[in-house]
């Protein structure tokens, strides 16, 4: 014969189990919990009834009822977890977006630094490492700094080759000019600073000339070393080091050709080895072709004297090159005029990202 009490517990357990598993959501499940384990819940009432039982009866019924409570609690917890994750799944299923939608570019990606500024920073990085500092001077110069101090005698044909922009005569009758080269900064440096001097002078320069390869404004960088023993051999070494660093090649052959500048003696032009056999491309450090990149020489004794230095005590060298030109050679722009047209297509293409700082440690054009 079956035990009527135990049979009642079994029936209740089956009912509760069915109700728990049948709860459609957490709210329904809570109702089931209350009906079973709430203050007046069926299981709670059974637990309360234990108090009125005889010790023998309680010994039998106690474990059975407590067992029922524990199993119901476990069933409730399991069902709750299942319902929660099902609800989350359902919510997530509605929360899909198209992650392939294009983003706006960040400003740091659209902004650009002009190639002239970038290349100037490259130059500064290279020469700073060799102990040079950066000197500057005004764009509007007087005749003394731009010509006379640099040993351009008045009326000399070399002056005429400079296609100078003039400003109107001032009260003294003198005419200021737009500096035709960065060399006046040499003069200003020597007049204001005692040797040893090691400077580079990047900046804007002007000549009234305009065609395919000339613009009325362009950029030069001048280098100047004045000391007691600085000679042509040192100049050669510096320029070789510069070319290797700037063009980022292991080695580059250079050819020094005698030339003429009023402010240097001896004067030279420098060609570097290149390969122009591929159309539209120049490679440096290889090939059998030569390309002129700069002018240089030992500072002329007259220039030293004009700057208050005794040419038998001090000596040194200077060089000058076009920043725009070496930028074109290194980065492959074909038209100088485009540098100054501010065409955003050109600037975005040839310009540099704001965070691409040229450093020797990280690589100049890395």
């Amino acid at each position: 014969m079956s035990d009527p009490v135990n049979s009642t517990l079994d029936t209740l357990e089956q009912e509760l189990s069915a109700a728990i598993n049948g709860a459609a959501d957490e709210a329904a499940l809570e109702q089931v919990r209350i009906s079973a384990l709430g203050k007046k819940g069926q299981v709670s009432e059974l637990l309360k009834s234990l108090g009125g039982m005889s010790p023998e009866e309680r010994k039998v019924q106690g474990p059975a009822i407590n067992g029922l409570r524990d199993r119901v609690q476990t069933l409730l917890a399991t069902r709750k977890d299942a319902l929660k994750s099902a609800a989350l799944e359902a919510r997530l299923a509605t929360e899909r977006v198209d992650v392939t939608l294009p983003m706006r570019e960040t400003p740091a990606e659209t902004g650009r630094v002009h190639p002239i500024a970038q290349v100037t920073e490259e130059l500064v990085a290279i020469f700073a490492d060799m102990g040079f500092s950066v000197a500057e001077g005004p764009d509007i110069e007087d005749d003394f700094h731009n010509f006379t101090a640099l040993n351009f005698p008045p009326g000399h044909p070399a002056r005429e080759m400079h296609d100078t922009f003039f400003l109107p005569p001032d009260e003294t009758g003198g005419r200021k000019v737009l500096r035709t080269h960065t060399s006046p900064v040499q003069v200003r440096t020597m007049l204001s600073k005692k040797p040893p001097i090691r400077v580079i002078c990047p900046g804007r320069t002007y000549r009234c000339d305009s065609d395919q390869t000339h613009t009325p404004m362009f950029h030069q960088v001048e280098g100047l070393v004045i000391d007691k023993g600085a000679h042509l051999g040192h100049l050669k070494w510096i320029l070789e080091e510069f070319c290797k660093a700037f063009f980022e090649v292991e080695g580059v052959k250079m050819r020094f050709r005698p030339s003429f500048f009023p402010f240097t003696e001896p004067s030279m032009e420098v060609d570097i080895q290149c390969d122009r056999s591929r159309p539209g491309e120049i490679r440096f450090g290889e090939g059998n072709d030569w390309l002129e990149i700069l002018g240089c020489g030992m500072v002329h004794p007259n220039v030293l004297r004009n700057c208050g230095l005794d040419p038998d005590e001090y000596q040194g060298f200077a060089w000058g090159m076009g920043i725009d030109r070496i930028a074109m050679l290194k980065y492959g722009m074909s038209d100088l005029r485009a540098f100054f047209e501010a065409d955003v297509r050109w600037l975005s293409h040839y310009g540099f990202r704001p965070l691409d700082f040229p450093t020797l440690a990280g690589g100049l054009s890395a």
Partner: protein, 804 residues
């Protein structure tokens, strides 16, 4: 300067190949700009001998020729030239050859049913002359099959060199030869010029007359040669002149041209019969005119030097002769002039008149004064040889200047200036070969430069002569030690700021432009410039006439140009100089930028995530502040004032300043300015004067103050104030912050409202105040006390009311 190889070989007996000579020319300072070699271009054309020529069966004017080119079977060629005949040596081109004048490639073809396997060529087809009456007739002894260019002496490459302004001596072939000989490439041939005995006194006399003004003519020599027969110059001379691109005219003129290029000795010849009275070398009288040999009439002034006779100006000294007294085939008595002129005066005259000539080019660079008389004698010999005649005695006015000078030359100078170890013997050999006179003994030589080297002034020039001839490749590259200085910053504060402003602006999406330093006068005036002192006297174009007072006009112009190309939304900036006057201190370093259209910092135009609106004053303000912050300017302490220069919108612009130091302006560009520039807006912009940013106190390494990290949560309270629209938000924030500077760590505006629902003259400014307790959590009472104080202060100081 051009010369042909054969011309060079009349002064130099080479011991090296042509290619070696060309390479060396550049390395000793005579830069080769080009080598033109006709023989190479015509190498496919060979000597052909017509063995037989018979009438074409189907055409009256054609002949069928059998042509031998030495080896192999004779070749059948159909030819229309009337002079094609058996026995003729002519020029043959095989199928496949390209005819240089028309680019046509020859093919085997049939002409009226007769096969023709090549072509016989006229001089015109080969680009050698206009002659096209028939095929070329070569000398009978020309070997069939040989390259014809060699046979007729076209294998004479022409070299063009760039001669630097200091090397006038190399504007003559003889000078080039001297340099090459010194460099060891051959033997200089320098035959002595035999002096010419004058047979009679010159019937033409000359006098220098500069009154009490400085002389423009140190020396003027002439002689008359009578009884000459002018006409075409000999073939050898014509060939030389043609090779370098000169047109032969007549013997007398060709001789002067030859002397110019052979010896760098420009001469002038004129017809003695056309001289009236005495020749006078003098300054031109203002307004005098000369019909020059180039067919143009020049009006002269008293800065110019002329040669005149009783009738008037005969020629423009050292620049160009006059048409009237020129030599032609009828000339019987010729005056030959060899003179010296003031180089600077020649340059000025030529420049003023816009007149270039080979003579001017040489005289302004300075020619060999000692060669004045020998040059006259050499020209006389040529005239006598070619034109006959009888020479007079020489008349010399003025005196040949003695340019002899001695330079003390320590041999150690070579090593001191170049680092090159050259032996005394090497140094002596180079200088001697170049014509320098040497005396004295080591360690200091006495050096006398030759008369043709007016450019040699001192020791450094001699060093250059030595190293360029010995070879600059011998100078060893020598490491220059960096020195003992520690690595230290090498940029000035201004340079550092320029860099940081640049990167800071680019990081905000602006694109860096480099625009001209000059703008139009109108643009200059619109942006506060236009001073006459900084307007160029010789601008390259009217719209590039004035030095820019601001970077904005160039950028605005560039933005419009981009818009015209279809790129309407541009954000551009520039870091560069502006000019207020012509003194160095009038130049400022600025960083400026503009935004046009919808070029907002986070993207322009339409986008699914939100479409960008029009740029506004706050974009410009944010750009300016970002750049200032990048430059380490004290941004937190800057006052923002609603004043800006006239080119900004008066109600939508401002300045960023520390007291009276306005270091930046920003705002919408004034609509009237845009209209005047023909630019469509909206355009906003800013200008920062980088020089005006105060320099922080210099300290090699900056220790940062200890950070105070509170353990207690900050509390925020919001207030909405209703104030007059004229009250600035900055004032409200300042007052609120001032209530308790320690406790209140930040005050921000989170909402701004004007319009419906509130008084028309007012605006609502909603402020969030953050309180940061430091010792303990604040009680509600404490918070309420601060809040009440804030309301009271703001109400009192700004006239605000708390919005309900």
């Amino acid at each position: 300067m051009k010369f042909s190889y054969s011309w060079l070989k009349e002064h130099l007996e080479p011991n090296a190949s042509f290619e070696e000579i060309v390479e060396r020319l550049s390395l000793i300072g005579l830069e080769v700009e080009g080598v033109e070699d006709k023989a190479k271009a015509l190498s496919a054309f060979v000597v052909g001998e017509i063995l037989t020529a018979s009438k074409h069966p189907n055409a009256d004017k054609l002949q069928v020729c059998s042509v031998s080119i030495g080896a192999g079977e004779p070749i059948q060629v159909v030819c229309g030239a009337p002079n094609a005949r058996a026995g003729l040596k002519t020029v043959f081109a095989a199928p496949g050859t390209v005819i240089p004048t028309n680019g046509m490639q020859l093919k085997i073809g049939k002409i009226r049913d007769v096969e023709s396997r090549g072509m016989l060529c006229s001089a015109r087809e080969l680009g050698l002359s206009e002659e096209h009456d028939g095929i070329m007739e070569l000398p009978v002894d020309a070997p069939a099959g040989a390259p014809f260019a060699e046979v007729i002496g076209l294998d004479d490459p022409v070299v063009e060199i760039a001669v630097t302004p200091n090397r006038a001596d190399c504007l003559g072939v003889s000078g080039v030869a001297r340099d090459l000989a010194a460099a060891g490439l051959g033997e200089l041939m320098n035959p002595r010029i035999k002096p010419v005995e004058g047979a009679f006194p010159s019937p033409v006399s000359v006098r220098l007359d500069f009154g009490d003004t400085p002389s423009l003519c140190p020396a003027f020599a002439l002689r008359v040669i009578r009884g000459v027969k002018n006409g075409p110059s000999p073939q050898w001379m014509q060939d030389k002149l043609r090779a370098i691109g000169l047109r032969p005219i007549n013997a007398l003129v060709d001789i002067t041209n030859f002397m110019t290029f052979d010896r760098n000795r420009p001469l002038h010849v004129f017809d003695a019969k056309k001289v009236t009275g005495e020749l006078v070398v003098r300054r031109a009288k203002a307004g005098e005119t000369l019909l020059a040999l180039d067919g143009k009439t020049y009006t002269l002034d008293d800065t110019m030097c002329v040669i005149a006779d009783d009738k008037g100006v005969e020629s423009l000294a050292g620049v160009m002769g006059g048409e009237e007294s020129g030599c032609d085939d009828a000339t019987v008595d010729v005056v030959v002039e060899s003179a010296l002129w003031e180089p600077i005066n020649i340059a000025q005259t030529g420049r003023k008149l816009g007149l270039n000539s080979d003579a001017r080019f040489r005289f302004e660079r300075g020619i060999d004064p000692a060669f004045t008389l020998p040059g006259l004698d050499l020209a006389t010999h040529l005239i006598l040889d070619i034109c006959g005649g009888e020479p007079s005695e020489v008349v010399l006015a003025g005196a040949i200047p003695d340019t002899t000078r001695t330079i003390a030359f320590p041999l150690s100078e070579v090593k001191r200036l170049t680092g090159l170890d050259a032996s005394e013997q090497e140094i002596r050999d180079v200088l001697t070969a170049l014509g320098f006179g040497l005396s004295g003994a080591a360690p200091v030589l006495e050096v006398v430069p030759p008369s043709w080297r007016g450019d040699i002034e001192g020791k450094a020039d001699l060093v250059e002569e030595v190293v360029r001839i010995l070879g600059l490749e011998r100078v060893p590259a020598t490491e220059l030690p960096r020195g003992e200085d520690a690595r230290k910053p090498i940029l000035t504060p201004l340079q550092r700021r320029s860099r940081k402003a640049r990167r800071g602006l680019a990081a905000r999406g602006l694109v860096e432009a480099v625009t001209w330093s000059f703008v139009s006068h109108k643009e200059a005036e619109l942006f506060g410039g236009g001073a006459p002192a900084i307007a160029l006297s010789n601008p390259i174009a009217a719209e590039l006439s004035d030095m820019r007072p601001s970077l904005l006009p160039g950028l605005i112009r560039a933005a419009q140009a981009n818009a015209d190309r279809g790129f309407a939304d541009t954000a551009l900036f520039e870091v560069g100089q502006t000019f207020a006057g012509d003194k160095p201190t009038d130049q400022s370093q600025c960083a400026s930028g503009i935004r046009r259209g919808t070029a907002k910092p986070f993207g322009a135009g339409r986008h699914w995530s939100g479409t960008a609106g029009a740029v506004d004053v706050f974009d410009a303000k944010a750009d300016a502040l970002a750049a200032l912050a990048a430059c380490n300017a004290p941004v937190a302490n800057l006052q923002v004032t609603a004043d800006a220069p006239s080119w900004y919108h008066p109600g939508r612009s401002g300045s960023l300043r520390l007291g009276s130091n306005a270091m930046a302006h920003f705002g919408e560009i004034h609509p009237a300015v845009l209209e005047a520039l023909d630019v469509k807006g909206p355009v906003v912009g800013f200008e920062i004067v980088l020089d005006k940013i105060p320099e922080p106190k210099a300290k090699p390494t900056k220790v940062k103050p200890q950070i105070d990290l509170s353990a207690f949560q900050p509390v925020t309270r919001d207030f909405a104030f209703l104030v007059e629209r004229t009250v600035s938000a900055a004032d409200i924030l300042k007052v609120a912050q001032g209530v308790d500077k320690k406790l209140i760590t930040s005050v921000g505006v989170f909402d701004l409202y004007e319009g419906k629902g509130i008084d028309e003259a007012k605006k609502s400014v909603a402020v969030e105040v953050t309180l940061q307790p430091r010792e303990r959590t604040l009680t509600d009472k404490e918070i309420e006390d601060v809040a009440a104080k804030i309301v009271a202060e703001v109400t009192k100081k700004t006239g605000a009311t708390l919005r309900a």
